[in-house]
Symmetry: C2
């Protein structure tokens, strides 16, 4: 699994910085499914699928055509999964609505390659409780796939010095999360990913990640650090 | 009702910029109830109540002592309500858990003075779907008190020029909200409030507010504008 903080880094095209990783991750895959439910800016499922499809095609990788009704069948036969970013509430809402949680969890745990960006990364943690997204739709549970035994905060951003805005900082929000929840939270800066294989959860990319462990002061980890040592 | 975007503006003390308004709003009130459930930074209910109590006392206004078990009774006998900011999910979760939604709505609609800051403002709209807060706890419904027929986005902030962060802007998020919801959304900048009496919903404070009306381009309104004309 490659769990990326974001699909797009500043000044680049969609997925551009991940192309090499995608090539390696999905090498040999012929039936990759794209999960478009997070719908960034309300893009339709079909348009969003085609957007991802186009990038994958440039690497000679095939994403299956979008289907409304046969998603369960596609999920069963696929040999790779990519869940795109957007709104995490909307994504999880649809996974529950279409009864896909168990299938998706089972398929990922079977060991096929999985790529997540932003919301698609967030749902692989224990819950969506550390998303930055607006709750634009209700979800019957915030429990996510739980493929890894922690929570992710994508698009992690440090407090901007000198800003006069009094809304809570990311750090304050995650500390508030820890007043009610126990799991480790990883603040993944844009350009960072978690590379997961078996029990190993390795920080990759160019930036350090921020670790919120309940009861501890936050600290940073370097690229290459294995998070299994913290769980 | 005075619905403030924030309790505290940059460089000032808690509620300092609202003192004159509080004095006028609660003039003659003797039994004001404080609703502390949003617990900013996890402050306890009792500490949070005492923090508000102290400020109100400086204006010779009495906030009732915090009670865990007699909140329904307090709500029945009170002649003023102040709901503090913090985490909106936590606040609404507790209102549902303690079965206070109906009582609170009834009491506010009876016409007694109400002050909300941030989360306490947000819950007076139709839903909490435009909160900026992290979903640190599940809520069985995002439906809020619906005292006013619109949604509020508190701590509204414009996109910061030149920032390289690729997370969604506030504007993008609210537009995503409108892909699934119809109500008017008011982006209330820090220092702004809505002053509500009967059907009138007047923008007060020093800053313009940003209006998101589904299907329209966003626009700004000036202090003194009556939002009833847009609903």
């Amino acid at each position: 699994m490659l769990l990326a903080s974001t699909s797009t880094i500043y000044g680049q095209k969609y997925l551009e910085y991940l192309l090499e990783d995608i090539k390696i991750l999905f090498s040999g895959c012929e039936k990759i499914i794209f999960i478009p439910y997070a719908q960034p800016s309300g893009i339709s499922h079909i348009e969003y699928t085609n957007k991802a499809k186009k990038v994958f095609e440039s690497l000679n990788l095939n994403i299956l055509d979008y289907t409304k009704d046969n998603i369960k069948e596609q999920l069963e036969i696929c040999d790779g999964i990519f869940t795109g970013g957007g709104n995490t509430f909307l994504l999880l809402n649809k996974l529950y609505e279409f009864n896909l949680i168990e299938d998706l969890r089972y398929k990922i745990n079977s060991g096929i390659p999985y790529l997540g960006t932003s919301a698609g990364t967030n749902i692989c943690g224990l819950s969506i409780g550390t998303t930055n997204d607006m709750p634009i739709i209700h979800v019957k549970s915030f429990e996510a796939l739980g493929i890894i035994d922690l929570n992710i905060n994508p698009h992690y951003i440090d407090q901007i010095e000198g800003i006069e805005h009094m809304g809570e900082s990311r750090k304050t929000r995650i500390n508030e999360f820890h007043n009610l929840n126990n799991q480790l939270v990883v603040g993944l800066r844009e350009g960072s990913s978690l590379s997961v294989m078996g029990n190993d959860i390795i920080l990759t990319g160019t930036k350090k990640a921020v670790i919120f462990k309940k009861g501890n002061k936050l600290f940073e980890i370097e690229t290459g650090f294995n998070l299994k040592n913290l769980i």
